[in-house]
């Protein structure tokens, strides 16, 4: 029996209305992303990367077509069930507005665990280990305003992976970072992919990230123009 995809789409379309004009942001995308894959979706601005990422994570519903995460059809789920699914099976890293400013680094990282009702000791232990692993140990009690951009993104990565979700979706995670910090963050995510088997799907322009991709999906005008699996590992 073949392995169940972490996420799968079938002829997915997303059409936005702008001043009465229909804009096809995603056009008929059919994909299967397997557990443990390190996937990069690349393409020029307006190619539909972010929209497709949002569709994969259940942040928006397709105009047409189907999306499955771990076999669950997102188009049939209620708002509440979708929220539950995102909580338990999807991690997100965004380009900006990633952390809640009123929470400390630890509180941000353990947020999904908290929503899941995990005990405090267990949360602290898991976040502590993860912070150690990704190089931000000691920053647990700092608020986001007291963290650098790179540190903030690491906390966001920690939050995304700490609950061991089926996949982590990252939208331009390195866009606001300098080259060295980007590289370090990529190392963190590549290590997590290799060591924990976490599935990563990125939307990015970043050539450094594209180089790391095990699988590169190039989007043009909302459609898949290239879907290339590479032999090179994601590890640094």
């Amino acid at each position: 029996m073949s392995e169940q995809p972490a996420v799968r789409t079938s002829d997915v379309w997303k059409v936005f209305e702008h001043d009465g004009i229909a804009v096809e942001a995603v056009r008929g995308v059919t994909l299967e992303i397997l557990p443990g894959e390190f996937v990069v979706m690349a393409g020029p601005s307006g190619s539909g990367k972010t929209t497709l990422l949002n569709l994969l994570g259940g942040l928006t519903q397709p105009t047409r077509g189907k999306v499955w995460i771990d076999g669950a059809d997102l188009t049939t789920l209620s708002e509440r069930a979708l929220a539950r699914l995102r909580l338990e099976r999807v991690g997100f890293v965004f380009q900006a507005y990633n952390l809640l400013p009123v929470l400390t680094a630890r509180e941000n990282a353990e947020f999904s665990l908290l929503l899941q009702g995990m005990a405090e000791d267990e949360r602290h232990r898991m976040v502590g280990e993860l912070f150690e692993r990704i190089g931000i140990a000691g920053l647990e009690d700092r608020r986001p305003a007291k963290l650098s951009g790179g540190q903030q993104q690491r906390v966001a990565v920690a939050r995304a992976v700490v609950g061991a979700p089926a996949l982590v979706l990252a939208d331009e995670p390195t866009a606001n970072l300098d080259s060295a910090t980007s590289l370090a963050l990529l190392d963190v995510m590549a290590n997590l992919n290799r060591e924990l088997g976490t599935t990563f799907v990125f939307a990015t322009h970043d050539p450094q990230l594209m180089e790391r991709a095990q699988r590169l999906i190039r989007l043009v005008d909302g459609a898949v123009a290239l879907d290339e699996r590479r032999s090179a590992p994601a590890s640094p």
Binding site: T60, E79, A83, R84, E88, A96, P101, S112, L115, R159
Partner: protein, 419 residues
């Protein structure tokens, strides 16, 4: 997620824009202060009216023969022609737990004359020892001294004294129809002049020692028209009157025990109107506050729409987002209430103990027939203080409801993409 974390988030969010939170909380606190103080003043007005309306003459409870009111026939004494054991009746009234003191009274009417001037007057026979424990009429003495029991002495109102051109020490002739059909008359010495501020009293009342007036109108000592009682908390008078009526009924005397609420219905009507006004006042003040708080909460939630989108993206349910905003509003309400109470309590205590005079604005006046001193008196509005606190929280939560629902409806994908 345990609710405690949402509370913590709500609390911390208040600290992000402290100036705005302080201004909003201040608006609510001032609303609370205004409502409680204004209600306190309204209650003070009613208390002043009831205190003076019942305290100067009426008393809080009166016992009469059951046919005495409303005509006040001079024959209709307690116990009829046989009279009653007045001392025992007084003792019965004073045995009630809410009654502080009781005193017998006799009423009559007739003419008073100094020889040069004559006037009609209502005569009130009082026990000079007991009466001051029930009413303040005798304490309103402005000239002369109190009459002595058994002496042919009289206290007259200031307006009546002016009409008669009589002063303490002067002699006046009193003529009164007696119950035996004769015309009682005698010479009295003006012991003193009282001034209550109530024109009707000051113009028409003359106070005699009880036994002397009984003698003048041919009433034996066992016959009195009224036993008045003082109930220190006037609002307990109706219950006390009901208890006394039941007690006196057991003695087979055909008497009626009535509280000031029955005797002075106009004051009850005013008190009811005032109480309705208290609620109207509270609704108006907090209804105005709702719009101010809602505006602030809308701004605050709009500024944080990315955070709400993030919360939704991370798997927070819309209901949890609503609760997080509402908890923030409740936290704001708690701060506002603490500030409001911190302002209100000391001001109320100070005001209660030192009510400011407004004699520069107006003099003594009357309300529903009761004398009102020119002071701004407040009463502690405990119930309304609690109600206003609940209204403050209600205002904060209601004002936050729409912003909270909007926050929960933030589309995470569109918002995080900047659409």
């Amino acid at each position: 997620m345990r609710e405690g974390r949402w509370w913590r988030i709500g609390w911390r969010n208040l600290g992000r824009n402290r100036r705005r939170s302080i201004v909003t909380a201040s608006a609510l606190a001032i609303g609370y202060f205004s409502v409680v103080l204004m209600v306190g003043l309204l209650k003070g007005l009613v208390a002043e009216m009831v205190d003076n309306g019942t305290g100067i003459v009426t008393g809080q409870v009166q016992v009469h023969a059951d046919d005495y009111l409303p005509d006040k026939e001079v024959y209709a004494t307690i116990g009829g022609r046989d009279g009653a054991d007045v001392a025992a009746l007084v003792a019965t009234l004073e045995a009630d737990p809410d009654v502080a003191a009781a005193t017998p009274r006799v009423y009559g009417g007739g003419l008073v004359s100094t020889g040069t001037a004559t006037g009609a007057a209502l005569f009130l026979g009082v026990d000079p020892e007991r009466e001051p424990r029930v009413s303040r009429l005798m304490q309103s003495l402005v000239r002369g001294r109190q009459p002595v029991a058994g002496a042919y002495e009289v206290l007259i109102g200031s307006e009546l004294a002016r009409t008669l051109e009589a002063e303490p020490g002067d002699e006046i002739v009193v003529v009164a129809p007696a119950i035996d059909g004769s015309l009682g008359n005698d010479l009295f010495v003006v012991a003193g002049v009282f001034h209550t501020g109530l024109v009707d009293l000051d113009r028409a009342f003359a106070l005699f020692p009880l036994d002397v007036l009984q003698s003048l109108i041919a009433l034996p000592p066992s016959r009195v028209h009224e036993i008045a009682a003082r109930v220190p908390d006037p609002w307990l008078a109706a219950e006390a009157a009901a208890r006394l009526a039941a007690e006196l009924e057991r003695g087979s005397l055909p008497v009626a025990a009535e509280s000031w609420m029955t005797l002075r219905p106009e004051m009850v009507e005013y008190a009811n109107l005032s109480e309705a006004m208290e609620w109207v006042l509270m609704v108006i003040v907090f209804a105005m506050a709702i719009f101010g708080v809602a505006n602030t909460m809308l701004m605050a939630t709009f500024e944080r729409r990315y955070e709400f989108a993030l919360l939704r993206a991370l798997g927070t349910t819309p209901g949890a987002v609503v609760r997080s905003v509402l908890y923030e509003a409740v936290a704001l309400g708690a701060i506002a209430l603490a500030a409001g109470a911190a302002i209100t309590l000391p001001v109320l205590v100070w005001w209660y103990h030192a009510p400011p005079s407004v004699a520069w604005l107006f003099g003594e006046t009357t309300l529903s027939g009761a004398l009102m001193r020119p002071v701004l008196r407040v009463e502690y509005p405990w119930l309304m203080g609690v109600a206003a606190a609940a209204a403050l929280f209600g205002t904060a939560v209601l004002a936050a409801l729409y912003p909270a629902v909007r926050a929960a409806r933030v589309a995470p994908a569109d918002t995080l993409s900047g659409r």
